[in-house]
């Protein structure tokens, strides 16, 4: 019997599902019921004509658990396809964040300067606040949020990861 691998890896998995009531609850229930991790989960309808939604879930576990997660997702009745974007080739991953920073004076100037370096856009502002919009890899967003912390960060809203494979092939 092959020894079990105990390394914990992170994976981004794309799941194409029927956009029917309860489908998200089914997926989330699967993760909580079987004790799998969800690091990020996003879902939106992507094909209105065919009523299909796409779920992107970032999860972690041993190689064996990750295979289990995919197999368990695959046997849910409304699931059309499950793809491991991390393992099967390369992919592009992005997340969007809206970040609200309040304050005045030096800190305000500094916040704007850093936002500029990070290519964050100002989407709302007043004399005493900014809302920045920023898109990128999650770790880049993490860094930006950390930098805003001492500069008056009061609110963050993030979408979670969306991902798509590189190259000319569809899911």
């Amino acid at each position: 019997m092959a020894p079990m691998d105990t390394n914990i890896e992170s994976r981004t998995i794309a799941v194409l599902v029927d956009n029917e009531p309860g489908v998200l609850a089914r997926v989330i229930g699967l993760f909580s019921g079987r004790g799998y991790n969800i690091e990020s989960l996003t879902v939106t309808e992507v094909d209105v004509a065919h009523g299909l939604s796409r779920i992107t879930v970032v999860t972690s576990g041993t190689a064996q658990i990750l295979e289990q997660i995919k197999a368990q997702l695959g046997r849910l009745v409304p699931v059309h396809r499950v793809r491991d974007l991390t393992k099967e080739g390369t992919s592009v991953e992005r997340e969007l964040a809206l970040i609200k920073v309040a304050g005045a004076g030096e800190k305000r100037v500094e916040a704007l300067r850093i936002a500029d370096i990070f290519r964050a856009r100002v989407v709302d502002s007043s004399h005493d606040h900014f809302v920045f919009e920023m898109t990128g890899k999650s770790d880049k967003l993490d860094v930006f949020v950390d930098l805003m912390q001492p500069l008056g960060l009061i609110d963050v809203s993030r979408t979670g990861v969306v991902a798509i494979s590189r190259g000319a092939k569809a899911l």
Partner: protein, 587 residues
């Protein structure tokens, strides 16, 4: 021409008919009255009134398991649906195809905490293969047919259809027939990959110490699956063992059969698993009751795993050769190639392997001594088997020691004769399951091998037995203990029998009589055969209170946390090998 109009309730009945349903197990209530009205107005579908919704689900399981068809349940909203939850979970774990129709409050009241409202789809989501809430009558006929497709295809399981009352009462002039409905996404893989099947044939052909390890998947795959499997096993000459759920998939009286494996399996089956060099798992799932401690599970074997559910592969045990597909189809392919290539196992190795197995067999791990007037429970079941085997009875069980003894001492030469709650271990399963089996097979002998404690969990179904004049035989192995609990308390908890005594039992004979059934009590070994014969010959339903030795334990036993070779064969072993601390935390 005026188009024909159907109510939602009529569509439900029409769809059931079109799916070939002849029997529905149910219990009425406010939220399903329109369906009950539609049932009243027709004669094709027989409704069987149970005495509690939990009984309806187990009865449908017994019906499904003994026929290979889908079992159908009809219950009302709220408490009707929540009472069904145990049975649904049971069917999920044992892969039994069911459709459970639940009433629901009208759509405009959903979410209002209306009278008898429960979030049925929310509650049953984790205990069904799939579930539906039908909000729109337009989708009703499609949903009905889809549900039947989902319940039966791939790994079978229970499907709930929640039906708001306004949908049942609504009207529509269109109805989709089964052949008009194709599922959008669900396409289970039934044919195994050709390369893997070829590889499996080679692996088996080169085995020196092969063993077939067969599970309930073969029974679910249909009678022809059992037939091809049996042919393959016989052709190879290899030994075969089955799980609790797999009993009957391979003939239980065949000389190549090693008996059941696992926690209370035979010594020879478990040691064959431990020592084999090629394991052929057909439709079993490496359940913890089978493997014992995983690190020491069959350490030197190459493992082939045939399963229709890809998520069963490498879940508990890492295998060398997975084949995702229907057990029957894959085995048929293996058999075809085996014959085509004129393979045979190496005679010398196989002979040596059987010599070892025969040594293990010689331990006679199921041996017991019946002496004196007190009936040994093992003896009771063995005699029941001997006296009924010619009638090829349908056997259901409850959960506990009697269940394991039934698995050990009753032998099944055919699939679909044995119904037990394996995965969930639900006390109270056997009596309603026997109701379902008897309804499907009116002329056959159906016996619930029961424990006195389990019997009490669903004994309200005696009313159903009486009403439909079902000649079910309820054979209570009455040891006056929750025997399996007492056994664990003895082995793991210093013999402190905390709350495991079956106190204040009814007089089972009088109980039977109060329902108009026949009651019998046997207290002495010398009376057993004659009384058993009387029970078997009786055209009536019978409760047979078989008073047995109170403190007998069920052996062999692989204690939790132990390996196959660490089996306890009897009380002397138990004293000598205390259970590890790691084992204590396991169930």
């Amino acid at each position: 021409m005026a188009t024909e109009q159907f109510t939602g309730a009529e569509i439900v009945i029409k769809a059931l008919k079109d799916q070939g349903v002849d029997t529905v197990f149910g219990y009425p209530g406010g939220a399903v009255l329109p369906i009950y009205d539609a049932i009243f107005k027709q004669n094709d579908i027989k409704h069987v009134l149970v005495r509690q919704e939990g009984g309806a689900v187990h009865a449908a399981e017994g019906y499904a398991r003994s026929t290979g068809k889908v079992g159908v349940v009809l219950v009302t909203s709220g408490p009707g649906a929540t009472n069904a939850v145990t049975g649904l979970t049971d069917a999920l774990l044992d892969s039994i195809p069911l459709i459970c129709l639940t009433g629901q409050v009208p759509t405009h009241l959903i979410g209002n905490d209306a009278f008898q409202e429960a979030d049925t789809t929310g509650i049953t989501r984790p205990c069904t293969k799939h579930n539906y809430l039908v909000r729109d009558i337009e989708t009703l006929s499609r949903t009905m047919h889809e549900a039947f497709y989902v319940a039966q295809n791939g790994r079978p399981g229970p499907v709930v259809i929640d039906l708001p009352k306004d949908v049942q009462q609504g009207k529509i002039d269109t109805y989709l027939a089964p052949e008009d409905v194709k599922h959008r996404s669900y396409r289970p893989q039934v044919n195994g990959e050709v390369d893997h099947i070829n590889e499996a044939v080679e692996l088996i052909a080169n085995a020196k110490r092969p063993v077939f390890y067969v599970g309930g998947g073969v029974i679910n795959s249909g009678s022809s699956a059992s037939a091809v499997l049996t042919e393959l096993v016989r052709l190879t000459g290899a030994p075969c063992t089955t799980t609790l759920m797999g009993l009957g998939a391979y003939p239980g009286t065949d000389k190549q059969f090693l008996g059941m494996l696992g926690m209370h399996g035979t010594y020879e089956a478990n040691l064959a698993m431990y020592n084999c060099d090629v394991m052929i798992n057909v439709g079993a799932r490496f359940d913890d009751r089978i493997t014992g401690v995983i690190d020491e599970f069959s350490p030197d074997s190459k493992k082939i795993h045939i399963d229709i559910d890809a998520s069963s592969i490498n879940k508990n045990v890492m295998v060398d050769l997975p084949i995702v597909g229907d057990a029957g189809r894959v085995v048929e392919e293996i058999l075809r190639i085996w014959k085509e290539k004129k393979h045979s196992l190496d005679t010398k190795s196989l002979k040596a392997w059987w010599l070892r197995i025969d040594e293990w067999r010689a331990k006679d791990c199921l041996g017991y001594v019946q002496d004196g007037p007190i009936i040994k429970p093992q003896h009771a079941i063995k005699r029941l088997y001997e006296l009924t085997k010619d009638r090829k009875p349908y056997i259901t069980t409850e959960v506990g020691q009697h269940q394991m003894w039934a698995a050990q001492y009753f032998h099944f030469d055919e699939p679909k004769k044995w119904m037990t709650s394996g995965g969930l271990g639900t006390m109270g399963y056997g009596l309603p399951a026997a109701v379902g089996a008897q309804l499907a097979h009116r002329e056959d002998l159906v016996i619930d091998i029961s424990g006195e404690a389990s019997f009490m969990m669903n004994m309200q179904e005696l009313g159903t037995i009486a009403q439909y004049k079902l000649p079910v035989k309820i054979f209570i192995v009455n040891n006056q203990w929750m025997g399996m609990v007492r056994q664990w308390q003895q082995l793991l908890h210093g013999n402190r029998h905390s709350e495991s005594y079956s106190d204040a039992l009814p007089d089972f004979v009088k109980l039977a009589e109060s329902f108009g059934l026949k009651g019998m009590r046997c207290e002495k070994a010398e009376d057993l055969d004659q009384m058993l014969q009387e029970m078997i010959d009786s055209p009536e339903p019978v409760i047979f209170d078989c008073q047995v030795a109170k403190e007998e334990n069920c052996y062999p036993m692989i204690p939790s946390g132990a390996a196959h070779y660490e089996m306890l064969l009897g009380p002397e072993d138990s004293a000598a090998k205390p259970i590890s601390e790691e084992g204590m935390v396991l169930v």
